[in-house]
Assembly symmetry: C2
Homo-oligomer: 355 residues x 2
């Protein structure tokens, strides 16, 4: 039987290069020197390619999906924060008090919170979708984080969340996540998919000291060595299962789901960048629908974006995750569409072009 | 008699360091790792310092003032665009079809258009404020661009525009401008105030070729040599008059006017950066109220910002001016205030702090 993720993967088509060319040509007729709006112009061209029309529709309203999961690797001592914080933050998201709530309200985006792998019990809340596949991953340093079936189930959760949000009106999707310890599996996935040494793509996450950072790198090296010894090490799903996390798998599915519905998907920090590598490995066509919202201070984020050739819109020294940086990029993306839709042309405005 | 600009200069007080410390302390209690919101946190601290309260008010609504003027130096062949385009673009601004109109509408900011020095006659329009001081500057390569009195009159136009906009409700000011040829006086002012060689701070403006760029640098060198030979070369007003422009002087007044009213002033591209150097030389206290909206591709912009120690929020390869990049930065600044106002603390949300 075909899974929902597989349906979305099959439905994802390359972005429309004809619409992209039409938008690039339209930019030349608007009342400004050619190219003077820089990244706003390239973003507008990409939006046209995604929507298949020039000028492109404004990507609004937007929706942020915050996928939450826990990580068995936390027992190795890779983070100073206890696992219960993942569940506590779910309640904070549901109550509207976290950074992503503030930033999403500011950007006019809705937030949906999806438990795809939280380990600690919590009070059910109408604002939290229970799609729990497994209560936290295995410790990737000693065993696969997930089974292949669990990884596929989490991909489905992400893809179906994307489809539902678009069905409910979203015209831009924002990748959010929460999971204490999740910069560790993200760095492992980025090392595996880019071939970079773990020390080059592993960062301080919430702010660990030098000693914990060295230990975190060693734990990731151990997990990569264990994974490399498996017969399936070159299969993206197996790599995801071996080194990943439930929210990471859901984000990969979410990206592919958004691409299948032809809406832009704004990629947040290092967790979303790791998920992007998974999505790209499984469904290369999905990449054209992705916009890198910002450059996280985590080194793995920049490495992952460079690997797939995306240049981030913002660079604000953020390292929070939750979707925060992607949410801040949303108004820039919307402005890019409005430039193409609302600016006067030289002819219409009666402005003389240059000598 | 004291001019309005001088009144504003006298009223500008240093930003409030006590409120800044209170905001920095509040950031540590919000439900996120310390420092994880990077530039959003430092921007929030600055907003608290500007307003003298923590959390700071959200800087909304905002207003963009687009000061327009023409330049005698255009006869030297420094731009491929004819001077009439300045007046034609005034009509485009008044009709709402220019980039700044689109971006200001998107950001919820009003746009006021002020003719402080346009040379070409145009049809009067209720959306254009006639505050013309002189119909274009003199050719700075051969003579002072302005008299001291003209420069002072344009400073007054800018300061009174800022005061009026704040009186009418604006809680953030955005520096906009239009003037064919105005990257040339901007580069000259930046060279004069930073001591950089003209070749290091002169850019391609709307997009000139290598030969025109070399000529533009030579014209600026000639103007600087003429100015250096005057007995008043170390007087900021005289430097402004000698090398500046009417919209540049108005912008310097606008910055000081905003500071005197204790609202943030978002600095746009190279023209606004040159005006910032003038404002800073005349009223050092004004700097604390300034936020660098973006890093223009014009080399003089980065040199000017580095000279006064400002780091731009955005870097989107923009070189349009009009206030466009500053307008794109406004939502980031507003988000910075909302983070401090709306995020839950660890205590209130019942979230465990790290081990």
């Amino acid at each position: 039987m075909t899974s929902f993720f597989e349906e979305c993967a099959a439905a994802a088509v390359p972005v429309d290069e004809r619409a992209a060319r039409a938008a690039a040509e339209l930019h030349l007729r608007l009342t400004k020197p050619p190219g003077a709006l820089g990244r706003l112009e390239t973003a507008g061209v990409q939006l046209a390619a995604i929507a298949g029309q020039s000028p492109p529709p404004v990507p609004e309203p937007a929706a942020v999906a915050v996928f939450a999961g826990d990580h068995g690797v936390l027992v190795e001592g890779v983070s100073p924060w206890p696992a219960e914080v993942t569940a506590q933050m779910l309640a904070n998201f549901a109550a509207g008090g976290a950074a992503i709530n503030v930033l999403a309200r500011h950007a006019g985006a809705r937030v949906v919170v999806v438990d795809v792998g939280v380990a600690t019990p919590y009070e059910p809340h109408p604002g939290i979708v229970d799609a729990n596949v497994r209560k936290g991953t295995g410790n990737m340093a000693r065993e696969p984080a997930l089974t292949g079936d669990e990884a596929r189930a989490a991909l489905d959760v992400g893809a179906s969340t994307a489809a539902r949000l678009v069905d409910e009106g979203a015209r831009a999707l924002i990748t959010g996540e929460m999971g204490i310890g999740n910069t560790t599996p993200s760095a492992a996935l980025i090392a595996a998919f880019t071939g970079s040494p773990p020390a080059d793509v592993t960062g301080r996450g919430t702010g660990i000291d030098d000693q914990t950072l060295a230990h975190k790198v060693a734990v990731i090296e151990r997990a990569l060595a264990r994974h490399a010894a498996t017969p399936t090490a070159d299969d993206p799903i197996d790599t995801l299962a071996s080194l990943g996390g439930l929210e990471l798998a859901a984000l990969a599915g979410f990206i592919v789901g958004g691409a299948s519905r032809r809406v832009p998907v704004i990629i947040d920090g290092v967790i979303a960048c790791a998920a992007l590598l998974v999505a790209h490995a499984l469904v290369p066509e999905a990449l054209g629908y992705c916009v890198a919202g910002h450059r996280s201070t985590e080194p793995g984020a920049a490495a992952a974006l460079a690997h797939v050739g995306l240049v981030p819109l913002l660079d604000l020294d953020l390292r929070l995750g939750e979707g925060s940086g992607a949410c801040l990029a949303l108004p820039v993306l919307q402005a890019a569409a409005k430039i193409l839709r609302e600016m006067a042309t030289f002819d219409a405005a009666g402005v003389t072009a240059k000598h």
